[in-house]
């Protein structure tokens, strides 16, 4: 049964890779996504050395990936060291959804990041949340890679 599941998952991943490589329009895009979550660093900025400012999400999802959780733990450690800093978590969606739903989705994504930071000891009164929905993409492209970069929560210094 378990083997079956592993096989099934492997198949799914393989299938996803096939689909993605078929969709990819330029060579640059290969290996920058896992599933449809962006894993590259093109758009990432740093809050401090080794502390990336953003995490990425799958389509319609607000679940934090392993990589996202690692990024947020780094952010939490940096925030603990710099206790005077307050932040805004800016939640975003890609252009493939209705505007109003995307506003709610951006808010949900930013809150997923907020909740995680809070479990790592960052007080909620240092964090505010702002959803932009699909209004502020970083990549203006209309392709799966661009969309994956745009599904994000960005931690921005507020002071």
């Amino acid at each position: 049964m378990k083997l079956n599941k592993i096989l099934k998952n492997t198949f799914l991943v393989l299938f996803a890779c096939l689909v993605l490589s078929a969709c990819a329009t330029s060579k640059k895009s290969t290996g920058q996504m896992q599933g449809d979550v962006y894993t590259g660093t093109d758009t990432v900025e740093y809050l401090a050395s080794g502390v990336p400012d953003r995490v990425f999400f799958a389509t319609n999802e607000s679940v934090l990936t392993t990589a996202s959780r690692e990024t947020l733990r780094k952010q939490a450690a940096w925030l603990r060291k710099n206790s005077d800093i307050t932040i805004v978590l800016e939640g975003h969606a890609d252009e493939r959804g209705t505007r109003e739903y995307n506003l709610a989705l951006g808010e949900r994504r930013a809150n997923a990041a907020k909740d995680y930071l809070m479990t790592y000891g960052i007080s909620s009164n240092r964090i505010s949340v702002l959803s932009y929905g699909k209004e502020r993409p970083v990549d203006s492209g209309s392709n799966p890679l661009a969309w994956s970069k745009n599904r994000r929560s960005v931690t921005v210094k507020a002071n």
Binding site: L103, R108, N111
Partner: protein
């Protein structure tokens, strides 16, 4: 606006229902009715005085152009070429020679007369059935000269109503979001225009992001989302006075606003801690009520025209679907069960249908379904389109459509489109800039 104009409706001859020409608007009209819109006649003195005040050489002919364009855009009428008209406008208005109009295949004829009466614009018009050789209706209006385009729209509404048996939608306005600049730094302003694209006016300067404006069905108020001071909140705007105010005192983002059909409440979403629920606020006593209470995203609420029900968008099943509930939040029922995701439900002003956006296999559709979810009908398919808004008679939908950005980052555009409920007569709605989030007003007169 309603108070600004003085409209005197004088029935010259009471029109009787004689069972003359009729236009069927319930199916796609592939044979639009040939109609002749004779330029409205005008005496020389009136012509000169209006030329001075309105800067239009022949206001009679300008009004007839407004009517002609309206009729053509409706898709139900085919206005005939004026060059083929044999009879002079003033004589046609007194007594049309029906043989002449028959000869150019006109089935209906509109004639009229414009006159300056005490510096007011007096317009009378008649609608004729060419085949039966009979007058179908005759009306006259007096108003301030600046309202000349509205006179054209009101005449079209009367003609449309007489020939189709349903109210028109021409004396109306569209509020929308005007867009400029690169996709990553889009500048958005509220804009308003007449239904035919004339009299476009920007209502905000573009300093802050604004989204989803919607008309109050009973007044010239608008509700919309503004990112003023980076706090996304629902606002109320009076288009006559320009006065704006934030709606309610919510400790977080409020969005997706709409008015109740009586115009007395605003219904919207409030997002807190990653959860969006639907709330109403009474504009008179400011009482806030929570309508949905569910850990999913509940948004895009829209009332039924009798105010008894609300349709909305929720992902409580895992994905975006359309739900209907009583207006107190009870009896929540999912109504969309087709393949794909469903969003932006809007209840038709006729009450029988809900228009929506659907995403399926990477394509976006505008469609309609009955209020129990049956009879789903997709009207148009595209790369991206959403946010339908009904014409006040429930016959036409306006929405916005975006085009793909190519690999060089070029080619993006956002435009308004309209389509008949029948799925026919899809049209680009001209706007001076890119445009999105259209909302159709009620009829301004009557």
């Amino acid at each position: 606006m309603r108070n600004l104009i003085i409209l005197f409706l004088i029935f010259i001859i009471p029109s009787k229902a004689l069972g003359l020409i009729e236009v069927d608007i319930t199916r796609g009209n592939l044979n639009p009715l040939p109609i002749a819109v004779s330029p409205l006649s005008i005496d020389d003195q009136s012509k000169k005085s209006f030329e001075k005040t309105l800067k239009k050489k022949d206001i009679g002919s300008e009004i007839s152009k407004v009517i002609e364009k309206n009729l053509k855009t409706s898709g139900l009428f085919n206005p005939l070429d004026k060059n083929a008209f044999l009879q002079a406008p003033d004589i046609a208005h007194l007594k049309p020679r029906f043989e002449d109009w028959n000869l150019i295949k006109a089935q209906a004829l509109i004639t009229g007369k414009v006159k300056n009466v005490d510096d007011k614009l007096r317009v009378e018009f008649r609608l004729w059935d060419v085949l039966a050789g009979k007058e179908m209706m005759a009306l006259a209006f007096t108003t301030v000269p600046n309202n000349w385009r509205r006179v054209g729209h009101i005449i079209t509404d009367k003609v449309y109503e007489r020939l189709t048996g349903e109210k028109g939608y021409f004396d109306t306005r569209i509020i929308y979001v005007a867009e400029e600049g690169p996709k990553t730094k889009r500048i958005k302003k509220l804009a308003i225009m007449d239904q035919d694209g004339a009299n476009n006016k920007f209502l905000t300067l573009g300093n802050e992001l604004v989204l989803t404006p919607r008309f109050n069905p009973t007044s010239q108020m608008v509700t919309y989302l503004s990112y003023f001071r980076n706090l996304p909140r629902v606002y109320l705007l009076d288009i006559e006075t320009g006065i704006q105010e934030v709606v309610g005192d919510f400790p977080g983002m409020t969005f997706a606003p709409r008015f109740s059909p009586d115009g007395k409440k605003i219904i919207m979403s409030f997002a807190k801690d990653g959860n969006s629920d639907i709330y109403t606020m009474d504009l008179e006593n400011r009482i806030v009520e929570k309508i949905t209470n569910h850990p999913s995203i509940d948004t895009s609420p829209s009332y039924s025209p009798d105010g008894k029900f609300i349709c909305f968008n929720s992902d409580r099943s895992g994905y975006q679907q359309i739900y209907v509930m009583k207006s107190d939040g009870s009896n929540v029922k999912r109504i969309s069960f087709g393949n794909g995701l469903y969003g932006t439900p809007v209840w038709s002003p006729r009450g029988d249908l809900i228009a929506f956006t659907k995403l399926h296999k990477g394509k976006f559709y505008i469609g309609v379904m009955r209020t129990d979810g049956s009879g789903e009908r997709l009207l148009t398919e595209n790369f991206y389109q959403e946010a339908p808004s009904w014409s006040p008679n429930g016959r036409v939908l306006i929405f916005y459509r975006e085009t793909k950005t190519d690999d060089k980052g070029e080619g993006f555009s956002a435009k308004l489109w309209s389509i008949d409920l029948t799925g026919y007569n899809e049209r680009l709605v001209d706007t001076p800039t890119d445009a999105s989030d259209p909302s159709w007003s009620s009829l301004l007169s009557n």
